[in-house]
């Protein structure tokens, strides 16, 4: 019956092509939406995920990394005294404006970290090193910011919040979900130029905690919550997820991706369903003949489902090939397509399920064919 299914498909190449093109487009759309969604999710918590710490202490009711409010630096001492805390580092995230050489201006996120420990600094450098920011009004900018800020060169000066900062390094792979370029400075520089944003001196934004070796960060989180007032405390995974959830779901962005994915899935069902249905209708007499000569309904299902699965598999391969070759295009327009193995397997399953559902109406129709009809 598998042979018959394949031969029926090949026998009508136009119909086969239409079905495969339908599945292909559906797969491309689903892969693009899923890949972009995962890319955005990854991007939204990129900085959190790359900072080597166990616990994040933030202002009360902080919704996400990008919009956290300042807290008093005195909280650092309180946190440090909590049992189970090995180290507590300060990290500033402030919003500012940079002036471009062409006269334009851009909003930037200023990340101020301790260059001695490097915690909170850039994790991959194209030029320079993360500790180069110490000792003056120095900055490291990411190469991805060149789209907004123009060509960046080590040694040149850029004005940020009215202060001239010398670029001492170019980092790689640091992107904010807000699309604002990230400017790394030393903690003291960030505190100095971001004073207006921070609302005065002796303010920080995050406290990054490493727990004593062997302790469960969750236990230490509870301890900090009990000991320090007016702050929120999260494990790294919790804060990463909170930030992701904010951008993807609280803003409605993720729902948009999901709706498009569901639409692509439904469009795929309709296209494949129509082609399989018309094929089934054309072969209804043949199915009747098969039943007359002794085939059972399950043999007929096999034929129809084999056809659906062949459509699904070929459409999936074609769809993934197109997605692979257009990956560079997405990167050029500033989006990242992330499709890990589990996402590919899920997409294949979704495609198979899509074609399986598409075949259902045809199966129902074929099931009702009376073998006696062959004599009519």
């Amino acid at each position: 019956m598998f042979t018959l299914a394949i031969k029926n498909l090949i026998h009508d190449p136009t119909r086969l092509a239409i079905a495969i093109v339908g599945v292909t487009f559906s797969v491309i759309l689903m892969a693009a939406q899923a890949g972009l969604f995962l890319g955005f999710m990854e991007n939204s918590s990129l900085i959190i995920d790359h900072i080597d710490t166990d616990i994040w202490v933030t202002s009360k009711n902080s919704k996400n990394f990008d919009f956290s409010q300042p807290i008093s630096e005195r909280k650092v001492n309180q946190v440090q005294r909590v049992q189970g805390v090995a180290t507590a580092e300060k990290l500033i995230l402030a919003w500012g404006v940079t002036k471009n050489p062409d006269g334009g201006s851009e909003q930037v996120e200023i990340v101020g970290y301790d260059p001695e420990t490097g915690i909170g600094g850039p994790w991959r450098m194209r030029e320079g090193a993360s500790h180069d920011v110490k000792g003056g009004l120095h900055a490291i900018m990411d190469e991805s910011a060149e789209k907004h800020l123009g060509k960046l060169t080590v040694g040149e000066y850029r004005e940020v919040l009215g202060q001239r900062l010398k670029i001492v390094g170019i980092s790689q792979g640091v992107k904010s979900f807000t699309t604002a370029p990230v400017v790394f400075t030393s903690y003291t520089t960030a505190q100095q130029i971001g004073a207006a944003f921070l609302g005065g001196a002796e303010k920080t934004v995050f406290i990054l905690v490493r727990v004593v070796h062997g302790l469960d960060p969750k236990d230490v989180v509870e301890e900090i919550r009990r000991s320090v007032d007016h702050v929120d405390v999260y494990t790294k995974a919790e804060y990463s997820w909170k930030t992701m959830r904010y951008w993807m779901f609280d803003t409605g962005m993720g729902i948009g991706f999901l709706v498009t994915m569901v639409m692509a899935f439904l469009v795929g069902i309709v296209i494949v369903g129509q082609t399989i249905y018309s094929s089934t209708m054309d072969h209804l007499k043949e199915f009747g003949t098969l039943k007359a000569i002794g085939a059972e309904n399950r043999h007929i299902y096999q034929i129809i489902f084999h056809q659906a699965f062949v459509n699904a598999f070929l459409g999936f391969l074609a769809g993934m090939a197109v997605t692979y070759f257009t990956k560079d295009f997405y990167e050029k327009i500033g989006a990242v397509l992330v499709l890990p193995t589990w996402a590919l397997v899920s997409l294949l399953m979704a495609t198979l399920i899509m074609c399986f559902f598409a075949a259902f109406v045809s199966v129902w129709k074929a099931m009702r064919v009376e073998p006696a009809a062959v004599f009519r």
Binding site: M1, F2, T3, L4, K7, N8, I10, H11, K285, E286, T289, L290, K291, A292, I293, G294, A295, E296, R298, H299, Q302, E370, P371, A372, V374, F375, R376
Partner: protein, 277 residues
Amino acid sequence: MGHEGFALSTMIAVFRGTEKKATANGEMERMSRHTIQAVHKLSTQADLADVTASQVVMHVENLRKQYRDGKVEVTAVDSVSLTLHAREMVAVVGPSGSGKTTLLSMMGFLLTPTSGTIRLMGQRVDTTCEAALPRLRREHIGFIFQAFNLLGALTAVENVLIPLRLKDITGRDARREAEGLLERVGLGHRKQFLPRDLSGGERQRVAIARALAGSPSLVLADEPTANLDSKSGHEVIELLREVANEGRRAVVLVTHDTRNLTIVDRVIHLEDGRIVQ
């Protein structure tokens, strides 16, 4: 088919497993004990060469089929009794609407009679449950249709292989039998042709080869020459005669063509669902 054999045999193995599971699940338990025994006994009669001319292939008794057409009850076949012997070729004739096709459908287990009995190779089979009918058909009946009903995407030999696959006959044995049957009907040289590349007469000969695949005990032919020119039609009827003469089976032929009647052993005239002669 080459490597297709593997896929088909795998599929059939799966079918077998499914069938066993279905049995275990109680699906077959719905069949009456009598029916299961009858079908099993029939299915295991592998060597039909034992059937001699005197042996009865099929016996139908007081066969009746009624339909409801709106508020009107229509009797398509009424109290038909007949016996088919091995090596016998019987023609069923009659005007349109006389019940020929309905009778053929009941003898081929495509329709269930309203009343009456059908015995195949001595076993009563009219009480067979719906689920077991396909098996009965593929084990014992060969069909030849007016419009040939070949599967358009398959070559001649693949068409002949279909009933063998359904009977779980696979691999070289199936291939050998299918090719032998095509040789038998004079189409050995056209076995790789698609139906669309064959003439009407050739298509019907492929259909005959398909009907003979797996050595059924009864071949039912519905107007097999109606779509053929007289020469091809004559060749097909001659072929069916040879098939009947092989001593392994009976052939029932529904026809309007009176030229076909000279070659058959017996003619049954139907009118208004009854045998009139």
